[in-house]
Amino acid sequence: MISVTGARKSYGNFAALDDVTLDIPAGTLTALLGPSGSGKSTLLRSIAGLERLDAGSIVIGGQDVTQVAPQKRGIGFVFQHYAAFKHMTVRDNVGFGLSIRKRPKAEIARKVDDLLEIVGLDGFQHRYPAQLSGGQRQRMALARALAVDPEVLLLDEPFGALDAKVRADLRQWLRRLHDEVHVTTVLVTHDQEEALDVADRIAVLNKGRIEQVGDPVALYDRPANDFVMSFLGSVARLGGQLVRPHDIALHRSRERAQSLDARVGGSPGVIEAVVERVVRLGFEVRVDLRADSGERFAAQVTRAEADALDLRVGETVYARATQGPDVTETEPALAI
């Protein structure tokens, strides 16, 4: 369990953390999600003791560590750019923390070998970091952080420097690893897909403040505000309201659209729009639209719906929101 209370940190006039309070339950995998400059990395580095807070306190496992040096916090930290010790072999990198703790050589060797097997780097013991790929280096860094049996594992954009395919693989792998070792894990990311994919809980940060904390489904379906909604998942602006593109229904007839819309509370109403482009993305079809007001938005419909509508560029359709933060559908309606 990690408790951050009233954390503040400024660099000159820039408030990186502005009264942040956050509880991270033991054994969870929590993502700190936010844009660049939102303070998520500063928060993580403060938990690690790599930054000193201007005000506030940090408690890890019941112990107030606010004034404790990073060496004594019982943490494992994984850096975005791996921070591999370039002059050491993989074995020495992973065993570094244990050798600092003066553990017997045999114990270190055994533990290192075990960890390398877990992270899939068995047989790489005598390589140097320069001889590893980015993904392998990051897995080595993870093994290194886990070697000292940390109470909490802190990951600062761990997959940020890797290419898309490797990122996705490592993400899945991290999730499985967490399910095996259950160490309390905090992951910093600016990638909402990554957060939704791996985390049990997500804390969305913006401008040094926490906007919302909750499980991924709650944040996606019931965002606390426009910022969280637009940061987590894609959005379209329909008649001044933010709506998910897959929550927009399209109709050929105005009457049909209006009659269905009448059953929805808080709806932005029926919007007349011209089809600008129809893009088939496998099962989904994205329809780019332009409203009378000139506002452009995109709706996401299934292939079957699109076929039924038989949309052509330049044709007029009627759009309505079926769901949204302010929209509640009283009874399910057919899309068409």
């Binding site: 790599l50 990073p70 943490i75 591999a84 010790f85 370039k86 570094f96």
Partner: protein, 267 residues
């Protein structure tokens, strides 16, 4: 640019011709004049008591200067890269100063500071003879070699950043452990390169050292002073050539080390 063969050959000829006239021919000539008399004559000339004493003195100065430069050079580089103190720009400028100061001016400055009647001339009465003594030659050499280690280590420190050191800290390493096990190994090639430059310059320094040395053969002559005095005072041209050849040999070793280290550093 696609240059015609004629142009290319022309440019090549001019460039290589310049280098031959300026560098190659004089060096080959001096080697020929030294070794033309036989290796025995050369060895005899560099084995006289005065020559051996000069070599020992040069090496002694190197042995004192190098450790000092390593310790303070690394500390200065760390302060410049990691420090956020006022006057950082000033320190940067001071580190570069020795490159811009004539060796003779270095000598004059040291005489005016440490010599009789100088600001710190009082230490002479305490039995610490700086000017015309070993300390003066060491301080002069320190002055001219001061930038090398700093300037070679600084960019390496910049490049490695603090990630590795922070990682070491999160793994429980104390700052001393981090320095010895992470920082020092990471800068080792840059540091070695700086040391090689320091050694080369320390062995080769002439102007600053001649100003502060009493220059007695067999007592206070370094190798470079020996070359000078053999040529000027003793009119022993051959002896001067032989001593110069010895120094040249050391320079070539330096050059080889530099080339090797350059390759090491870039991997």
């Amino acid at each position: 640019m696609k240059t015609s063969t004629a142009t290319r050959l022309g440019l090549r000829t001019v460039a290589l011709g310049y280098l031959v006239v300026l560098l190659a021919v004089p060096i080959v000539l001096i080697l020929w004049r030294t070794l033309g008399e036989g290796v025995g004559a050369f060895l005899e000339s560099v084995r006289t008591p005065a020559a051996i004493s000069a070599l020992n003195l040069s090496l002694l100065i190197v042995a004192i200067v190098v450790p000092l430069n390593v310790v303070f050079g690394v500390a200065t580089a760390l302060a410049l890269v990691r420090g956020r103190f006022r006057g950082r720009g000033l320190v940067q400028a001071v580190v570069d100063l020795p490159f811009a100061v004539s060796p003779i001016v270095v000598g004059v400055s040291l005489i005016l500071l440490w010599g009789a009647g100088g600001w710190l001339g009082g230490v002479e009465k305490l039995g610490f003879k700086v000017i015309f003594g070993l300390p003066g030659m060491v301080i002069a050499t320190l002055f001219v070699t001061l930038p090398f280690v700093v300037r070679e280590v600084e960019p390496v420190l910049h490049e490695i950043g603090t990630d590795q050191e922070q990682a070491a800290a999160t793994l429980g390493a104390s700052s001393a452990q981090t320095f010895w096990r992470i920082t020092l190994p990471a800068i080792r090639w840059g540091l070695t390169y700086g040391v090689v430059l320091t050694v080369a310059r320390a062995l080769g320094e002439f102007g600053a050292v001649i100003m502060v040395s009493s220059g007695f053969p067999g007592v206070s002559q370094t190798l470079t002073l020996l070359v000078h005095s053999r040529y000027i005072d003793d009119h022993n041209t051959y002896g001067a050539y032989a001593a110069a050849t010895l120094l040249m040999g050391l320079a070539v070793v330096t050059l080889l080390l530099m080339t090797l280290l350059d390759r090491k550093r870039s991997t």
